[in-house]
Symmetry: C2
């Protein structure tokens, strides 16, 4: 039977979570993390409860949500995507769900194979916050200049050095240059969202972009300030990190069609 | 100064809450209720911390949310609506918000003066639940026949005896006849909502209507069953009460323009 002998089967899963009660994706002793929660569910499916490592497309910070986090892992067990999805959802707590799962080729890697990502930042723009959205949106009581925000967004789009829009660039071993494909400011008050796509993002980069867009929106910064700050290459207090609760890792996409039609294991 | 001498000022407030962590609107010893939470905030504004009673348009059950619950109360203190709203929101916890407040004539009554109410029931209709909506929507993994649900909804609309769609009709002293003005089935999968308006609702009536609509949607009941059940006048297991978490008291409206332009107290 496939996956039962020497070679494990590699799976890809799209995972959604409410980040409110998690200390982020990555395992940390003493904290409730999505990775640990997910791997605990995976170990229930592995042979004799062996531990299984889940590799994500990237870490998400404490409080950040996901609708399309993508992970890969290997199991010595052949299952269809639907079987795997249902089994995992049976073990996972309600704040983590497997939206989709599939067997993929063994060289698929959730992080290395990623071609791009979309994050969305949600803003509730009204005098009084709606309590039903307080866990998943930032409350912005002040009026926002959409025109100015869109101008700032256009200056952030493209291939740039985003060092000044990262919380701790020194953590990055390689370059701080990234390509932002698009920043769309969508919706209408009270429901606004920033849809940011790119080839990859530095630590806290989307929250920094959201922070500067809001500063421009309330008139604290001119749209052109975005360019000055970017060229300075230095993170300063001018760039505020928007709170984690408004951020959702929306989707991760892959160029290669890695997904196998089905795993034929009977 | 007005409101400071003999006569109190009557105020009307529109209140939103996340019902998840409340045992409903009405005070109950030993439970966290919206009424108690709201009245505690009110007492901070009253003369020498006297207790103040808040009268709601109606009770909401444990777990039921509100966007437009309407309450009235009297204070020996003159404030503008904006002052009152801000002061209360300063004292209230994050899961209760005053959306709007105004001074009204002294014969305004949140329940007796109400001309109608709208409730909305939210359904997340997809194979896998989105964890970000698990507190505020019902997860319905099965496909729903919208046509059949709309037919059932039309049979429920109008002036009828809703005894069979109330959890405990004996609690009602008066008639179980109510007029449902409209039931709109709005949105598209995964986001569906039932928008129900009427002159008033019996205990658990909207959740019973939502329950029977879903039974019809999944094909467990024919649309015509709604009429049979209604005519029987008896609550049976055929009518399921949809879970509280999907229900939001959306708005309450009043025919008389009770709101005073401003309270002139300087």
């Amino acid at each position: 039977m496939c996956g039962e002998m020497g070679q494990p089967v590699r799976y890809k899963a799209v995972v959604a979570y409410d980040g409110t009660d998690f200390a982020g994706w990555q395992r940390q002793p003493g904290f409730r993390t999505v990775q640990e929660t997910f791997e605990t569910a995976l170990s229930r499916l592995s042979r004799s409860g062996q531990s299984v490592t889940a590799h994500a497309s990237g870490r998400t910070d404490a409080g950040v949500h996901a609708r399309g986090q993508t992970v890969h892992f290997d199991l010595f067990r052949g299952m269809t995507g639907t079987q795997l999805r249902r089994a995992l959802n049976g073990w996972l707590p309600e704040d983590v769900r497997v939206v989709d799962a599939a067997a993929v080729s063994s060289d698929f890697h959730a992080r290395h194979s990623a071609a791009g990502k979309e994050y969305r930042y949600f803003v509730y723009n009204a005098a009084v916050m709606d309590p039903l959205f307080r866990r998943t949106m930032l409350h912005m009581p002040r009026e926002l200049n959409m025109e100015a925000m869109r101008e700032a967004a256009s200056l952030l789009t493209g291939k740039h050095d985003f060092a000044a829009f990262s919380a701790n660039p020194s953590r990055e071993i390689e370059s701080t240059v990234r390509t932002v494909y698009s920043i769309e400011i969508a919706g209408e008050a009270p429901f606004l969202e920033f849809r940011v796509t790119g080839d990859g993002f530095l630590y806290k980069m989307v929250r920094s972009i959201s922070g500067i867009l809001l500063s421009v929106g309330i008139g604290k910064e001119r749209p052109g300030a975005v360019r000055e700050i970017m060229l300075s290459g230095v993170r300063t207090a001018r760039v505020e990190t928007a709170p984690a609760r408004g951020l959702v890792l929306w989707r991760v996409w892959y160029e290669r069609a890695d997904v196998k039609d089905a795993v034929s294991c009977e």
